[in-house]
Amino acid sequence: MSVPKKRYAMTVDTRLCVGCKACVLSCKAENDVPDGFCRDWVVEDVRGEFPLLAAEIRSERCNHCTDAPCVKSCPTGASHVNEGGVVLVSHNKCSGCKACIAACPYDARFVHPKGYVDKCTFCLHRVQKGLKPGCVTVCPTGTLAFGDIHDPDSEVSKNLRTRRWKVNHPESGAQPNLYFLL
């Protein structure tokens, strides 16, 4: 029996998220993200009219798509699929052409002042040391979970089995790996 390859994913529990942005700031510090940019962000989706209202708060970032439009659109191979399906940009191969930025359904990418395209890495440098991504570690509400969805015992697998969930822009066909628990 073949062992399935790792497939890293993240679940975001919209019931718990208070939109405090600790994830955003912790990411900025962990990844030394330059001023004026961020790799993750918070969307507050409020619907209805006073006083009948409903709110959904989502901590969003690169979806590390299984069929990543950014990787397919990259002319230099800088955008590539790394360990566990994590989509990374090799700084030295990126020409800054922005094809990936146009291709990304999630607006998750930006041009770093040093010229290459930058975005969330699922903190693979931490994950490879056995740590969780910075945003998951800091989160005071336990909104974020990270792990291998091919491992049935992982927290993300359990979340996806036991909870209702959705993804953003399923119509893109990119097979995103950022799941919002409802």
Partner: protein
């Protein structure tokens, strides 16, 4: 459109691939470099455990230091208040530490008027000599009690100690009379114990959490929000009573958009239903409380129908939520709030919250209020304080507020203005880490007091507005650069934490302990600081207590053996009230001539075209203390005026345009963006407190957003706690003039 965009990309990328293959060169060249996982390199070569001061919750931190520079700050997993997690502010200590606007050298006002900001940089020697000389002069000529200390933050402990040694008991903090004072008084009167900070709430185990104006999630006290999320995760029901659809309201099964100023009517009606339907905890009430009969009579006519006319909350919803609150008892927590200085009857409202909790038996119970424990640490042996008892002059109008157990900051202002309170005025202020010009209401009164002083000493990290009014400015280093005293925080498990320097102080800034000790030495009070530095003092205290110094320094925290904190753990409940019971009916208040059961008072309402000004928090900032923090401001740079969208439309005001608020006394705010939103009632506006700085030294924060304190010209003084209700100001919303908006 989206499809054609995708289509374009597909063609585009295919084209490039063909081109690359065509040359044969590009692919080979690119292929030579292997894909590496880039490490941003922010891990420290040293990791120092300490605790936070971006707010006052004191969460445990792990600060990463690389090449002498703090690169990132993470939660300390061993610390019971952070549990390895942080709020956004906690991550941003670097933004304070490396703030280019920090106070760098001691400053002395040589010429010019107070407030002119004509400072001269001087040596520490000069600044300390000046300060000590002036303090000694006041001590000699007017008496030591004519000096007051305003303090906010953990480092203030050294200055409190200094002031007590000097002979004054006038130690005050706006965090009492302008924030949590009435809550503490209300609970003290009812249970014989305050709620404290961190609040002694077992939120995580609550099955029903009722919030009255307490916006958890925006008010970002780390452990409380962790526990709130844990409770929601376990299926707890949230009832959010708030004129605004807060973040917490977004998590709630019941959002009650109450008319501001009427919370007491709702609380009384809930009690009415719970008593009338026999839903209260009969055994708990009989065992632990006194005055139930009087309470029952008091709320007999406080029907949901009556409350509807006051609160605008439908009667059936009041009944339903009352049943939900009682249905989960005792794990039903009616949150006591924190900033509770709203309408002037705030102690009575806090009493009502306390009484409601007693009816559902939540005090001392799992999922309610726990009885905290802490680890004792022997004090440094010093001579007894020579301080005189505090006088009534700390209270406005010379009236004693018999239940105010802390000195009132606005009262100290009044006591500084000659003739205002009768007694000889206060002559000197030491202001530690609190920006009185944003923390206290009625700014003109504060400024008048300041101009009457013989001495104003400001000890701060940043040039907040108050610093500009000082005679002498003593630049303190940040919490990341200093030792502080030990924090034996009372909590659901006993623990000790230490704050230790992560990096040495920048510029010529100095730790608070050093400043206090230097002043003490110059005032013949050196024997009160019988140690060389705070680090050795902390070590000596820990050693005297039999604690492992090396362990606490390595971990930043020492956890003790948990003891029972609820009856479910085996705790026997006791109450430090005169009757030794929970006093539903307060004989203490009766004796003081105050209503012994919370009465409902109808408060003035905004007139036509006016809105009640409400203010609150954003998770990213601790009021004006952090709004100059450029790192935190990466995600929240200014505040907005929340106005009901329908009202905005009626007035032709568009979302995002710049508006000015003008209050009932003609006080005008600076312009800020309008947030036209469905998330607020039509009769109030909301702003986040702490913006609209005017200090030229705060180069980032100056001019960003709107300062609500400018608009708090009116207060409603609480007759029980003496605190200042501040949600009693009414404003109109005007489109900012083109010139004012810079357009």
């Amino acid at each position: 459109m989206a499809q054609s965009r995708r289509e374009f990309i597909k063609i585009g990328s295919a084209g490039v691939a063909v081109a690359a293959a065509g040359t044969g060169l590009a692919t080979q060249w690119w292929g030579l470099d292997p894909d590496v996982v880039h490490d941003p390199g922010t891990d420290g070569d040293r990791v120092v455990p300490t605790f936070c001061e971006l707010c006052f919750w004191k969460c445990g931190l792990l600060a990463h230091v690389k090449n002498g520079r703090v690169t990132k700050i993470q939660g300390n997993p061993d610390h019971p208040l952070s549990n390895g997690h942080l709020c956004p502010r906690g991550t941003g200590g670097m933004g304070l530490l490396y703030d280019p606007d920090r106070l760098k050298k001691p400053l002395l006002r040589r010429n010019g008027k107070r407030g002119d900001q004509t400072f001269e940089e001087v040596s520490w020697e000069t600044a300390l000599d000046f300060t000590a000389e002036k303090l000694l002069k006041i001590q000699k000529e007017s008496g030591p009690e004519k000096v007051a200390l305003f303090s906010h933050g953990f480092g203030g402990s050294f200055f409190k100690h200094l002031l007590f040694a000097y002979g004054s008991a006038n130690v005050t903090a706006p965090s009492y009379g302008q924030c949590r004072g009435p809550r503490e008084v209300g609970f003290q009167l009812t249970y014989g114990a305050p709620v404290g900070s961190p609040e002694v709430l077992d939120i995580a185990n609550a099955r029903v959490i009722t919030l009255l104006g307490s916006h958890l999630g925006e008010n970002m006290h780390n452990t409380q929000v962790q526990d709130f999320a844990a409770a929601i995760s376990r299926g707890a029901t949230v009832i959010a009573v708030d004129p605004r659809f807060s973040t917490a309201a977004g998590k709630a099964r019941y959002w009650l958009p109450i008319k501001p100023g009427t919370d007491l009517a709702l609380l009384l009606a809930w009690m009415h239903v719970i008593i009338d339907e026999g839903l209260y905890d009969r055994e708990y009430v009989e065992t632990y409380t006194t005055g139930f009969t009087e309470l029952k009579a008091h709320v007999a006519d406080k029907t949901p129908e009556w409350a509807f006319t006051e609160t605008t909350i439908r009667p059936e919803l009041i009944v339903e939520t009352a049943r939900v609150i009682a249905g989960a008892r005792p794990a039903s927590l009616v949150h006591p709030g924190r900033h509770t200085t709203w309408y002037g009857d705030d102690t009575q409202r806090s009493r009502a919250v306390a009484i409601l909790n007693a009816l559902v038996g939540s005090w001392g119970r799992r999922g309610g209020f726990f009885i905290p424990s802490s680890m004792p640490v022997p004090k440094t042996p010093v001579p007894a304080y020579a301080q005189k008892p505090k006088t009534s002059q700390d209270h406005p109008d010379g009236v004693m507020y018999p239940f105010a157990d802390e000195v009132l900051s606005h009262g100290v202002c009044d006591a500084t203005i000659p003739g205002k309170l009768g007694a000889a005025p206060i002559k000197g202020w030491i202001v530690y880490g609190t920006n009185l010009l944003q923390a206290l209401p009625q700014r003109e009164n504060v400024l008048e007091a300041i101009q009457k002083l013989d001495l104003l000493v400001a000890i701060d990290v940043l040039p907040a507005e108050i610093v500009g009014w000082a005679d002498v400015v003593l630049p303190e280093c940040t919490y990341l650069e200093r030792w502080d005293d030990i924090a034996p925080t009372p909590w659901r498990e006993p623990f000790l934490a230490v704050r230790q320097p992560v990096v040495p102080p920048l510029y010529e800034s100095k730790p608070g302990w050093w400043i206090a000790k230097q002043l003490a030495n110059r005032m013949n009070l050196g024997e009160y600081f019988p140690w060389d530095d705070a680090g050795t003092m902390v070590e000596a205290r820990l050693t005297a207590g039999g604690y492992d110094v090396a362990e606490i320094k390595a971990k930043g925290v020492l956890r003790g053996k948990p003891v029972p904190v609820t009856t479910e753990d085996g705790l026997a409940l006791t109450f430090a009230t005169p009757s030794k019971k929970i006093e539903l009916y307060s004989r203490q208040m009766e004796a003081a001539g105050l209503p012994p059961l919370p009465p409902y008072t109808r408060h003035p309402e905004p007139g036509p075209g006016q809105f009640r000004l409400l203010f609150g928090r954003t998770p990213v900032h601790t009021f004006g203390r952090t709004t100059n923090n450029r790192f935190l401001s990466e995600v929240t740079k200014d505040n907005e005026v929340w106005l009901n969208a329908k009202i905005a439309k009626e007035r032709g005001l568009a979302d995002g345009e710049r508006v000015v608020l003008v209050n009932q006394d003609g006080a005008r705010s600076t312009p800020a963006r309008l947030k036209a939103t469905q998330r607020i009632r039509p009769d109030c506006v909301f702003v986040v407190h702490g913006y609209g700085h005017t200090s030229p030294g705060l180069k980032f924060a100056k001019g960003r957003g709107l300062d609500d304190t400018t608009l708090v010209t009116k207060i409603a003084v609480d007759p029980v706690a003496g605190s200042t209700g501040m949600s009693v100001n009414f404003v109109t919303v005007e489109r900012a003039a083109a010139a004012a908006s810079g357009a």
